[in-house]
């Protein structure tokens, strides 16, 4: 069965506002790697659909410069019906993707013109004594290659985006939403390095990103990158990291990473207590019940 993408149908529209509906294809590509045996639509794919539909509805020509108030309260599963509401004004696209189970994704996309492409740079040096990269992500959803450095509070890994995926355009530029997943995989890399040796990597589900800043209009397929996660709070359940990604030499420390980042933001995730369990992000979260 060939992978397919959802087809959004416009059900209502007004000036600067549109509502669309679609179903997540059961054969949506790349879900077998996110995660093996437990397919969940990654948050960045939901944002990617939002950007595509916003382009179509509002014919914008500005670049994405940031994501704000991103929230992913409910896991989106293959086959689910979803409604996408978009509105546009003052250089911001607001979106909400929801269905019978609740809100899958919501947030704002900041748009502006004048963002300059970044310069190419050689691959970050990977140290020979590097820690093992352990990720729950597999197949086309495994974007990191190796660990550059790991301490109890921070992990840097190398990354590369490959072709033959829906998020790489014909000109080799990647959809802006991929930075969300790259930053999320930096958190996963830290979790894998910090976990006890021999245990399978725990799955984490992205639940929030208050603000992600983009400093380039697009990452390019095949270019070598580094990603870094600095621990903010939590080990299991709700966790948060300050994440950065960039190119060229691996960052010396967090200020260096933030200074040279092509994208950065603080991300929240829900990390399963045990790799076997299949809690959704909205279940078992702290400080609520």
């Amino acid at each position: 069965m060939q992978p397919s993408e959802p087809s959004f149908v416009r059900v209502s529209e007004a000036v600067d506002r549109v509502r669309l509906e679609a179903q997540v294809p059961v054969n949506l590509g790349d879900l077998d790697g996110h995660f093996p045996g437990h397919p969940v639509v990654p948050g960045f794919r939901q944002v990617m659909w939002t950007l595509a539909e916003a382009n179509r509805a509002f014919s914008r020509d500005a670049a994405v410069t940031g994501f704000e108030a991103l929230r992913f309260p409910t896991s989106l599963l293959p086959g689910a019906a979803m409604a996408l509401e978009l509105s546009h004004g003052d250089g911001v696209v607001r979106f909400s993707l929801s269905g019978d189970d609740g809100v899958f994704a919501s947030g704002r996309v900041r748009l502006a013109s004048g963002l300059e492409p970044h310069a190419a740079a050689p691959a970050p040096e990977v140290l020979s004594s590097r820690a093992e990269l352990r990720l729950p992500h597999q197949g086309t959803m495994r974007w990191l290659d190796g660990v550059v450095s790991h301490t109890p509070t921070a992990t840097t890994a190398t990354a590369m985006l490959r072709s033959d995926t829906p998020w790489v355009g014909a000109d080799g530029s990647c959809d802006p939403s991929v930075v969300i997943e790259l930053l999320a995989q930096a958190m996963a890399a830290h979790g894998g390095c910090a976990a006890e040796a021999g245990t399978p990597p725990r799955r984490g589900f992205l639940v929030s990103a208050r603000q992600i800043e983009l400093r380039t209009p697009a990452l390019r397929v095949g270019e070598p990158l580094w990603v870094r996660a600095d621990h903010v709070r939590g080990e299991l359940g709700m966790v948060a990291f300050r994440c950065t990604l960039g190119n060229g030499a691996a960052p010396q420390d967090e200020p260096d990473a933030r200074d040279r980042a092509l994208a950065l933001g603080t991300l929240g995730a829900f990390v399963e207590a045990a790799p076997e369990s299949a809690n959704s992000p909205s279940e078992g979260a702290p400080s609520r019940e």
Partner: protein
């Protein structure tokens, strides 16, 4: 008991800033009202964002203890008491 009015107002501003609430002003948040489910209607994701902001601003440590956090995050008043007793900046 210390007057925490100033701290409560600052915490209200932090809530709005941390959660990027667009249509809520400091005056709209009632100090004693529940923050979760009813009241402002915050959820566990908001609690995470709020914990990040409070830890950064006040140097407090908020552990992953659901029962304790339910008390701390009950209202602006309870948050202010917790911050006042535990702040390091």
């Amino acid at each position: 008991m210390a007057d925490l009015t100033e701290l409560e107002t600052e915490i209200k501003a932090i809530i709005i800033e941390a959660l990027l609430l667009e249509d809520v002003a400091v005056e709209d948040i009632v100090t004693a009202d529940p923050l979760f489910d009813t009241g402002l209607g915050l959820d566990s994701i908001d609690a995470l964002e709020l914990a990040i902001a409070l830890e950064e601003r006040f140097g407090v440590t908020i552990d992953d203890d659901p029962d304790r956090n339910q008390q701390i995050f009950a209202s602006v008043a309870s948050l202010a008491s917790f911050v006042d007793a535990n702040r390091s900046k």
